[in-house]
């Protein structure tokens, strides 16, 4: 009778065990991917540093700083958001943190009478905004795990088109920065127009190198270089976001594995108690029955009890192997 409860518990424990194995595997995979993703962040740094250097030297060489990507808008009517989230869930609050930050920002823009445009990376971002009835300008997906430069290039192209055509006067970049294994932070930064000071285009006069020859004209080189800079910046953001995604997933899966372990311990305890109760009840029943049968003949009582207990133990153990 009580054996039924024991069987149910045993089944739950084995299913929790199976889930635990999966979450543990996901935790380990995520942990190894963080390292790889961090390596990619590092590998991308030389390029963007060199691009910044060249821009600074160009500006020092007298390139006019009047590229469309640098044009400061007079009035902002529409703000575009580039949102970088994940393709998959099971990573704690990683997706929601970025998406909520963007939604809050859109709300405050609307209060100020500005329209919005959304350029999304990651299935979860597309799902979140289209479900809530936002109009999505462009959505990219399938590379949040391991973004390539060509992915960043395609996204940057769509952003630059929106900005240069004047449909949006400002572009914000929202992603999760990877500060360390233990801490990642959602940031919403201005992406376009590019800040002349940020790319070193204004500080170069004193750099002292000077005396460069240019081929072709400095302003033409700058015109080719700035889109590369925007791409490199977006690529860096995609890489950092992917490192953050793996870190968030590793943490979430570690918590899930720990929970499964706790649950297993508790359920095993309850199950053992249920089994013990079943045995105790059965012994009580046997003793009671034997006593009632042999009220007149005291001599055989102990033998009878011993026999019955052996018999019921045998059935109990076969029950267990059945379960």
């Amino acid at each position: 009778m009580a054996g039924g409860q024991e069987r149910i518990l045993r089944r739950r424990i084995s299913s929790i065990d199976a889930t635990k194995k999966i979450t543990r595997a996901m935790e380990l995979i995520a942990a190894s991917r963080i390292v790889k993703a961090q390596g990619r962040v590092q590998a991308a740094k030389p390029y963007s540093e060199k691009v910044t250097d060249v821009i600074a030297n160009l500006a020092g060489g007298g390139a006019g700083v009047d590229h469309p990507l640098l044009a400061q808008p007079g009035e902002i009517n529409r703000v575009a958001y580039v949102v970088i989230a994940a393709d998959r869930g099971l990573c704690g609050g990683y997706n929601n943190n970025v998406l909520r930050a963007v939604e809050r920002s859109i709300d405050s823009d609307r209060a100020a009478g500005r329209d919005y445009a959304l350029i999304l990376s990651g299935k979860k971002a597309a799902g979140y905004f289209s479900f809530r009835g936002y109009e999505v300008h462009a959505a990219f997906e399938g590379f949040s795990d391991q973004p390539n430069y060509s992915d960043a290039k395609a996204m940057a192209e769509s952003v630059a088109e929106l900005f240069e055509s004047g449909q949006a006067q400002q572009v914000q970049l929202a992603y999760t920065r990877f500060l360390s294994m233990g801490s990642q932070e959602v940031t919403v930064d201005q992406f376009m127009p590019l800040e002349a000071s940020e790319i070193g285009a204004d500080a170069a006069e004193e750099s002292g190198v000077g005396g460069y020859e240019f081929e072709p004209e400095p302003s033409e080189i700058l015109g080719r270089l700035l889109p590369r800079y925007a791409e490199a910046r977006l690529y860096a953001a995609l890489l950092e976001a992917s490192a953050s995604e793996h870190a968030a997933r590793q943490r979430a899966m570690k918590a899930a594995t720990d929970n499964a372990e706790d649950l297993k311990i508790n359920l095993t305890r309850i199950m053992n108690r249920a089994r013990q109760d079943a045995i105790t009840t059965e012994i009580m029943e046997i003793v009671g029955g034997a006593e009632a049968m042999s009220q007149d003949d005291d001599g055989d009582l102990e033998d009878l009890i011993a026999q019955s207990i052996e018999g019921s133990f045998a059935t109990l153990t076969t029950d267990r192997t059945d379960a």
Binding site: P46, Y47, K50, V54, K153, G211, F214, E215, P216, P218
Partner: protein, 127 residues
């Protein structure tokens, strides 16, 4: 002089070279030791680096070159070393580009694709 070839995903080459030949949008240019400071935009073309252990040939699909204080930095988001080039793929790209050009001679994208395919075939040494 110190030469670095940097793509967004990795540093492809880093080392001492005696000579660098590359192609800017205005034409081929060679750098020897102690070249004057120079910044150029690169065209689709072949780049050769005279390294200590032989000449390294690369196909470069646009980019930038900076020379200053005896160091050459080449930035390119699409560069391939001769041994990494898939000649058959390049041949197929070349045919596709030719077809696109045959139907529309002003197709700038196809013209670029053709140039890039030809460069890859030339650099890999197979004609």
């Amino acid at each position: 002089m110190q030469v670095e070839l940097v793509s967004p995903e990795a540093v492809l080459f880093s080392g001492e070279c005696s000579q660098v030949v590359t192609r800017t949008v205005d034409g081929d240019i060679a750098f020897l030791d102690n070249h004057a400071p120079f910044i150029g935009a690169l065209d689709v073309g072949q780049t050769q680096l005279w390294a200590a252990d032989g000449v390294v040939s690369l196909a470069i699909n646009g980019g930038f070159v900076e020379v200053s204080s005896n160091a050459v930095t080449i930035l390119s988001d699409d560069a391939m070393a001769a041994e990494d080039i898939d000649v058959q793929e390049a041949q197929a790209d070349l045919q596709a580009a030719d077809q696109a050009l045959a139907s529309d001679a002003d197709d700038a994208e196809a013209a670029l694709a053709k140039k890039w395919a030809e460069t890859r075939i030339q650099v890999s040494g197979g004609n």
